[in-house]
């Protein structure tokens, strides 16, 4: 975990005071609504349907126990006793009071948390692989690079007033677990054949309206040039991003309007100029700069395997519930004797991603006792205990289970990704939480879930796409039709290495049809798959849209009409 020094601490504290003064001036009528809006967004404060929403940045998804305890305190004192984990690994509070936000931010600053650039047209919090440092398929641990870039883009004066939000996603592994190419910039940290470390850059991704995946602009930027290349991309965006239409302001639109060649060439040309000038010198990272940050992410003090292995299979054989959890929520670890444990935030009748004060506290204790004090948030709104010893697994399971955090459904059909929708969000066209719960109830039994296997359902309450609907295997998008809530369904999206934007299947479904519609699609899959090993997405890619469409809409003629 990165530890602040005096500079980091001073920066966050001064920022709190800056915002305190802005809030005071706003309440005193010295700042207009519009002026204050841009200032508060840059501190994480958004206006929702009923109350402000405060987004707290969780840098590349890493949390530690002190922060979890603080969150428990914060949600009790300033909110209604719970927070919400988002698809960008952040935490949102739904009910803070504006006047109290400066104090709230002051408390967060004590544990290295803040809302700086959590909203607004600026560089947002960086997302990253939640298995960084522990995944067997990892080439390079991306965390030091995430941190170096985090510092560079935090309160960067030149890039503080961008045309639109700007997001970076990082991975250093073979499997993309951070939906990186849905970001404006994806950085893949790679090792070349000759051993040199560098970055593969993809630029121009983004969800929301006109979802697009980032395109490769450089296959290998040397390790020393992370900030130089980032500066080139950001300057290109600041100069050329459209400012005349908020819906066309993302960098993906520059890519679309210019075409790939010109887009790539412009970034590369700026990069060359930066390298050649004074800026290039300043932005160059020396090996010791990287080592210094890497030292913040040491491997934990792992115990020898002999001390911590356990016959987990034997324990599982005696306890079916434990066995189910082991099967679904526990994964291999690169160090013998350790496992990666997923904490499910998708219990029955629970809002996907929500976490109560009691759960925050329990998690703090569990990660202190069993996972070196750290916890990670994932882009599918779950949590991860990255370093649990085998012999502790059963105890960890009991403790998680007692807090409703052990639902054995990671990666299954009830592990639904979902935005706040009409229940909270001022931009929503339709509810999403209720739909998630309806779908959940249809597949509640474990047997049914296992039968269906790996699948990702994603739900957004409007086309902004906070629930990642366009990259779900089954994506559900809430639309408004004459004041009624309807849902458009897409199939075939993916956020992983095989990233793809889903295709619309046909006419939208009404609120009371949607859960039934999903069930039909699942039944279609169960009939269509060639064997139990073929997942939903593989099956869809093999057979195409038509058979799913026919089964969703019932009759051939209705399918043709839809």
């Amino acid at each position: 975990m990165y530890r602040y020094d005096e500079t980091d601490r001073a920066l966050v504290m001064q920022r709190v005071e800056q915002f305190r003064d802005q809030t005071r001036r706003y309440l005193a009528g010295e700042l207009t609504e519009e002026e204050f809006r841009h200032l508060r967004l840059r501190n994480g404060l958004y206006q929702q349907r009923f109350a402000p929403m405060l987004r707290i940045s969780v840098p590349y998804g890493l949390l530690e126990s002190a922060q979890l305890r603080k969150m428990a305190h914060i949600v009790r004192k300033y909110d209604k006793g719970y927070g919400h984990f988002t698809t960008r690994q952040n935490i949102q509070l739904n009910w803070p009071k504006l006047e109290q936000v400066p104090d709230l931010l002051g408390e967060l600053a004590q544990v290295q948390l803040h809302g700086i650039q959590a909203c607004g047209n600026d560089t947002r919090n960086i997302t990253g692989d939640y298995l960084a440092g522990v995944a067997a398929d990892e080439q390079i641990d991306p965390r030091p690079y995430c941190e170096l870039l985090r510092q560079y883009i935090t309160l960067h004066p030149e890039f503080y007033w961008l045309p639109r939000k700007f997001k970076f996603g990082f991975t250093g592994a073979a499997v993309d677990r951070a939906a990186t190419r849905t970001n404006d910039v994806a950085v893949h940290v790679v090792r070349r054949e000759d051993g040199a470390i560098g970055y593969r850059f993809f630029v121009g991704g983004g969800l929301g309206r006109q979802p697009m995946l980032g395109q490769e602009t450089n296959a290998f930027v040397p390790e020393s040039d992370l900030l130089r290349y980032a500066c080139a991309i950001l300057r290109t965006f600041n100069r050329f991003g459209r400012r005349d239409n908020i819906h066309k302001a993302r960098i993906k639109i520059v890519l679309r309007e210019w075409g790939y060649e010109r887009f790539r060439a412009t970034i590369e040309e700026e990069y060359a100029k930066i390298k050649a000038g004074i800026e290039g010198e300043e932005l160059l990272l020396l090996p010791q700069d990287i080592e210094r940050v890497r030292a913040h992410f040491p491997a934990p003090a792992y115990r020898p395997a002999a001390e911590i292995t356990a016959d987990v299979a034997a324990l599982a054989a005696r306890d079916a519930a434990f066995a189910a959890w082991m099967k679904r929520n526990v994964r291999a670890h690169k160090v013998p004797g350790y496992r990666v444990v997923f904490v499910s935030l998708k219990a029955p009748d629970h809002v996907p991603g929500d976490c109560t004060a009691e759960q925050f506290e329990a998690l703090a204790e569990i990660c202190d006792a069993y996972s070196f004090g750290e916890l990670r948030s994932t882009y599918d709104q779950n949590l991860v205990l990255a370093d649990v010893a085998e012999r502790d697994l059963q105890e960890v399971w009991r403790k998680l289970d007692a807090m409703k955090l052990a639902t054995p459904n990671i990666g299954l059909i009830t592990d639904i990704v979902c935005c706040p929708g009409l229940d909270f969000c001022g931009l929503a066209n339709a509810g999403s939480i209720g739909v998630a719960q309806d779908i959940y109830r249809r597949f509640d039994t474990l047997d049914a879930q296992y039968e269906v296997g790996a699948i990702r359902i994603t739900i957004s309450g409007c086309m902004n796409g906070c629930g990642h609907h366009s990259v779900g295997h089954i994506g559900i998008l809430g639309v408004d039709k004459h004041g009624e809530e309807w849902y458009q369904v897409t199939l075939g999206g993916s956020a992983g290495n095989d990233a793809a934007v889903g295709e619309r299947i046909g006419r939208a479904l009404a609120r009371d049809e949607i859960a039934e519609g999903v069930e039909r699609l699942i039944r279609a899959y169960l009939e269509l798959r060639c064997d139990e090993d073929e997942t939903f997405i593989e099956c869809y890619r093999r057979v195409g849209m038509a058979p799913f469409k026919a089964r969703l809409y019932g009759t051939e003629s209705e399918a043709a009409a839809a």
Partner: protein, 171 residues
């Protein structure tokens, strides 16, 4: 009417007059004037001959590197903020200072509110014209709103990674 502006961190009376396109007032002759890039291109020579100094206002959509050869000898270059959230001129300023080496007065005009001032200062503007309704003393103080920074833009800061490098070398 002279205006109070921020120059080099102090509130001073402005000695330049911004001349809108089309305006031909005779009393401007002899003084220090700022004209648009378009006007500079057509009337530059004549203006320079009849005035103590001529500064140029560059639109924030211009390619500053392409324009620079035409204005590199100016004492003052002004850049525009049509709304305070439009940060294009911040990139122009950094490129002017750091890549092109412009040493003259770099002025920000337009929708300049107190909360933009700090960022302007760090991007190399040494001359800032706050919007009419702004509290000037507060604008001046805003230049030092935050005293720590991670990165160097066109200011006195040293990047944090370079500072930490130096500190590690001492220990």
């Amino acid at each position: 009417m002279t205006m109070t502006i921020l120059r080099d961190g102090a509130l001073v009376q402005d000695d330049w007059t911004l001349v809108e396109d089309g305006r031909t007032d005779i009393e401007l002759a002899g003084g220090k004037v700022i004209v648009t890039l378009a006007r500079w291109r057509t009337e530059g020579k004549a203006l320079a001959a009849s005035h103590e100094a001529v500064g140029v206002l560059v639109p924030n959509t211009a390619d500053i590197e392409a324009v620079y050869p035409e204005i590199s000898d100016r004492k003052l270059i002004a850049l525009q903020f049509p709304v305070f959230t439009d940060g294009r001129a911040l990139s122009q300023a950094v490129v002017l200072r750091k890549r092109l080496g412009f040493k003259g007065e770099l002025r920000a005009i337009g929708d300049v509110i107190q909360d933009l001032v700090f960022w302007l200062g760090r991007c190399g503007f040494d001359s800032i014209v706050p919007r009419q309704d702004q509290n000037l003393e507060a604008c001046r103080a805003a230049l030092d709103e935050l005293t720590v920074a991670y990165q160097a833009t066109a200011d006195e800061h040293t990047p944090v990674w370079v500072r930490r490098r130096a500190r590690a070398a001492v220990h």
